[in-house]
Symmetry: C2
Subunit: 142 residues, 2 copies
DNA sequence: TACTTGATGATAACGATTATCGAAAGAAGG
DNA sequence: CCTTCTTTCGATAATCGTTATCATCAAGTA
């Protein structure tokens, strides 16, 4: 928690209880929660937390590159405080979002640059399919 | 136009003027338009076209895999009737969405499968950066 | 203590998409 | 051509995630 506070400070951000709580949830979760889920998770410990604060804090963290916004299948954005190079798999069965770590794409992205006039700064890669938990149940693939 | 009508028929879809008009716009456009833009484009030739019809037709075409939905930067989805294997670049300067054709990723996706328990059916790859038109103006990259 | 600035909380506003439902248009069979 | 049946269309209301507004609060400073 102190480590997270330091990270915020290093980004010139005021360390408020709300920011720390939201960043902490994102940092210690593999669920890639939505703003609404973060809000719900904080009801116990921070009952006065406003949903607007969640959105504003997310925006702040996003602009400081402490979290990444994921455009997945659902109606809402999801967020990820793991900013290391990795990709995401979206399970068509349960809807969960999973981290996919691979180094096979890293150098190749540079290669793709050779095929286009577009100047590439970053990339967002989503895989759709079935997660390991749902695979046994869903033998039928769409 | 007749070709598009046949494509709709082959997908067991009724060929209505509205569907043909919307599919035609998507098919003959490289702009990856939003529903609203499609609606605006049709005001001249189909003044009675309803925005709801645009959305419903998009949904129909989507379910028949005749178009692909793109989650880009803006507030709205964009759509692409080019269903061949290609990717998209989103220009951070002008906001346009560009096609990026490359075959460098094709086999690699299969390789990625080896690194994860997630069963991959499809992938969506977005590149963010600066388009050729904006590059000269924007020497400063974010 | 007063002043300044930025963050928070409550809520209204916004905007893209979806749902609803009566009317219109096709398709199928006489 | 006429029914009948089904699907699609158009107009509009409803939904819902996100943003904007604004008064209040908290932290830092003189």
């Amino acid at each position: 928690m102190q480590q997270l506070a330091d990270t915020l400070k290093n980004k010139q951000l005021k360390v408020t209880p709300q920011r720390l709580a939201i960043y902490n949830i994102l940092y210690n979760s593999k669920e890639h929660p939505t703003a609404e889920i973060i809000y719900q998770s904080l009801q116990d410990t921070h009952p006065t937390m406003s949903l607007a604060t969640v959105y504003k804090t997310i925006d702040t963290l996003k602009k400081s590159n402490l979290i990444v916004e994921l455009k997945t299948n659902g109606d809402s954005y999801r967020y990820d405080a793991d900013i290391s190079e990795h990709h995401h798999g979206i399970c068509g069965s349960c809807g969960e979002v999973f981290d996919i770590f691979t180094n096979r794409l890293d150098t190749l992205i540079l290669e793709v640059q050779k095929d286009t006039d577009f100047h590439i700064d970053s990339h967002h890669i989503y895989f759709k399919g079935t997660c390991p938990m749902c695979l046994p149940n869903n033998s039928i693939q769409h």
